[in-house]
């Protein structure tokens, strides 16, 4: 720093610690609540430290679910979330990288038209046109299928742009060299472009995995069979469980389970995550 002022330093740390506390406190409380029984959570003030029922609560949640909310095991919901997140992630990456490749490395009629079509979807989240999209999916007979759960969310303007920007920075000499070697466009893509995009793909993977895992409204609508429920939408059934009051220790347990996979991915691959986030939005 430019100068060293002890008061300013203390203030700096105080701000940061306060920020960390503000961000961590809710999850701390959720974690604590998930280790108690209904009794401890029935009236204020609720305990701030762990109870002894954590193991029982989590075993029940993972294997049997919450009877009051239909008794769908959270373990199964998490499996579905994982499948959905992975299909969306790989699907998005796959179709984006090839369409970006076409747009950057080829010249063909309607190229700009296609580009604009993809671009228009950039900020048109599914929530905005939810009813007709649902209608289309039902007409195609895709309700209650993994395809219906994932394919409509697979188009990605963001990923296409990221790859386009990246391809534009790759020197033209590489293409010329490939030409001299008589490598065709498919060879060039597989042997040169794909390996070069490794970091970008990995970074994008994290962002898209979180996007896929955190989907809520779409799975809520297209799944009517319990075998396809995902954990993020599943929690809604527990909070609004008909006439009964929410069973908070189970709800909080589910919230914790539902956030573990994406949070672990972000923390474990922090560098790539930051890169992915900052670059995909530029």
């Amino acid at each position: 720093m430019v100068e060293n002022r002890p008061i300013l330093n203390i203030l700096t740390h105080a701000v940061l610690i306060l920020g960390v506390l503000f961000l961590c406190f809710p999850v701390w409380m959720a974690l604590v609540a998930s280790t108690h029984g209904a009794e401890a959570l029935s009236r204020a003030p609720i305990p701030l430290w762990f109870g002894g029922q954590g193991w029982d609560n989590y075993t029940q949640l993972l294997s049997a679910g919450l009877p009051a909310a239909g008794g769908v095991p959270i373990g199964m919901m998490m499996m579905n979330s994982l499948i959905m997140a992975l299909v969306i992630t790989f699907g998005k990456i796959a179709i984006s990288i090839i369409s970006a490749y076409a747009i950057v490395y080829f010249r063909f009629p309607f190229r700009m038209g296609f580009f604009w079509m993809i671009f228009l979807t950039l900020m048109l989240p599914v929530e905005v046109r939810i009813l007709p999209t649902f209608d289309v999916v039902t007409r195609l007979g895709m309700l209650n299928t993994y395809a219906g759960l994932t394919i409509p969310l697979i188009a990605s303007a963001t990923a296409t742009f990221l790859f386009r920007q990246f391809f534009l920075t790759i020197p033209d000499e590489l293409v010329e060299a490939a030409r001299i070697d008589r490598a065709g466009p498919v060879r060039f893509f597989i042997d040169i472009l794909l390996p070069m995009s490794r970091t970008n793909i990995a970074a994008l993977f994290i962002i898209l995995f979180i996007y896929g895992w955190n989907q809520y409204l779409w799975p809520l609508l297209v799944t009517t069979e319990e075998g396809l429920y995902t954990v993020v939408m599943g929690i809604q059934r527990m909070v609004n469980s008909g006439e009964a009051l929410p069973v908070w220790h189970f709800v909080m347990g589910t919230a914790i389970l539902g956030m573990i996979p994406p949070v672990v991915v972000v923390v474990a691959m922090q560098k790539l995550f930051v890169k992915g986030l900052v670059e995909s939005e530029k």
Binding site: A68, T224, E226, G242
Partner: protein, 437 residues
């Protein structure tokens, strides 16, 4: 066999059943019974399936009443509808309109086609009249019906030295005494449109809409901005200002306030009985008839039901419908009905189940549990008290909720709110008329 063993045995079966049930006819049954109620519904489905060689009933919890009904309609549009869907009473008009167009398989016809004995007169008139067509044919199977009662915290009332109130004036006085004795929000209620407008009107024999509360035709128009209702709503709002009434949210959201003693007088469905019995440990509670507004009527008329019925949707195979018919017959038997009634607080929907409960001495061991059925059968229903039938009523209730909440928050007077609710509600009625004529 005791109830407990049935429960545990059938729950075990429910888990084991799907493994060897593949060759049975599969029936999808979507319901909105969360919590304890859901467990009993699952038990019924599993118990019936275990006893049947050809049928498997798959009971699926689909969220609250609104979510369950809308999910079923969306599924119908998609051709993925369940066989049986539980629809609450306010969705009746929508389902009836759908019956005209062929989406619904009426229960009387289902039973006929399946050759299952079915005696409509076994059901309580107050319940059945809500769900029959103009030729007195039953369209859906009454399953869980309740009516609002006033729940009271006896321990708190005794401590404050007041008797159980029977009129609204007494409610106010009791609330004052309770407040003075340290009860935070003495009075509260849930399902406010149902308890404070629909049932208030029926209880005092005043119409809430034209055309016999919608039974006579789709041209019906709301009239619940009359003086009686407006004054009643204003009374509750004034109680709120005085700290005697505390609003605790829509539906049953305020249930917790009664359970933990914040509230001592709570008007809501009789069906909270089962939950209260297991949750309330530290005070004595009871239920009594709805209070009378002496400025409006000298004696109460009768209350109207709430709750839900089971509708059968078209588009499946006949052997599956045979299963549905048999399952319905199973559900209507006095044993099931009495068990359901005694464990949940829903009214017994057949006379036989009511008699059986009496025989078993249930009303002696659990005094007050016949309050609901007494309210329903107090007098012969008049056009004002036999029920209501409005299109788009799910949305209309939302509007009423919104307007009432504006009153409780002090943003509107009761008059302004009721006028607005009627105007907005009528727009919905006209839209329903246009879409269904």
């Amino acid at each position: 066999m005791t109830i407990k063993t049935i429960l545990t045995a059938t729950t075990a079966l429910a888990i084991a059943a799907p493994a060897f049930a593949a060759d049975k006819a599969q029936v999808q049954f979507w319901h909105a019974m969360g919590g304890e109620l859901g467990t009993i519904v699952d038990t019924f489905a599993a118990d019936y399936s275990a006893g049947s060689e050809t049928c498997q009933i798959n009971a699926v919890y689909k969220g609250n009443y609104t979510e369950n009904m809308t999910a079923a309609i969306a599924a119908f549009r998609a051709g993925e509808q369940p066989h049986v869907v539980q629809v609450f009473e306010v969705g009746t008009a929508t389902m009836m309109a759908a019956e005209d167009k062929g989406a619904v398989y009426p229960v009387y016809k289902l039973m006929q086609d399946a050759g299952v004995d079915f005696d409509q007169s076994a059901y309580l008139p107050a319940v059945v009249s809500y769900y029959t067509d103009t030729d007195n044919n039953l369209l859906s199977l009454p399953f869980n019906s309740s009516t609002p009662v006033m729940w009271y915290n006896k321990t708190a009332l005794d401590a404050a030295g007041v008797a159980v109130p029977t009129t609204w004036d007494e409610v106010e006085e009791a609330a004052r005494a309770l407040k003075a004795n340290g009860v935070e929000k003495p009075f509260s209620m849930g399902w406010q449109s149902w308890t404070q407008i629909e049932n208030y009107s029926a209880w005092h024999n005043i119409p809430m809409a034209s055309e016999e509360n919608g039974f006579a035709s789709l041209k019906t128009e709301f009239t619940f901005n009359n003086d009686a209702v407006v004054n009643h709503i204003q009374r509750i709002a004034d109680m709120g200002k005085e700290g005697l009434f505390g609003y605790g949210g829509r539906r049953g959201d305020s249930r917790g306030m009664f359970v933990n003693g914040e509230t001592a007088l709570w008007i809501n469905s009789s069906a909270y009985y089962g939950g209260f019995k297991s949750d309330i440990k530290d005070f004595e509670f009871g239920q009594t008839m709805l209070p009378l507004d002496t400025a409006v009527a000298d004696a109460p008329q009768n209350s109207i039901i709430g709750g839900a019925t089971l509708w059968v949707l078209n588009g499946h195979k006949s052997d599956e419908y045979k299963c549905v018919a048999e399952f319905f017959q199973y559900l209507s038997q006095p044993e099931q009905q009495a068990f359901w009634h005694q464990n949940t607080g829903y009214v017994p929907i057949t006379t036989a189940a009511y008699e059986l409960s009496k025989e078993q001495g249930f009303y002696k061991t659990d005094p007050g549990t016949d309050t609901a059925i007494k309210e329903l059968s107090l007098n012969t229903p008049t056009p004002n008290s036999k029920g209501i039938r409005f299109g788009n009523f799910v949305q209309a209730r939302d509007i009423i909720n919104e307007e009432l909440e504006a009153v409780w928050a002090g943003d509107k007077t009761a008059r302004e709110a009721m006028d607005a609710a009627v105007e907005r509600g009528n727009a919905l009625l006209r839209k329903f008329e246009d879409a269904n004529s």
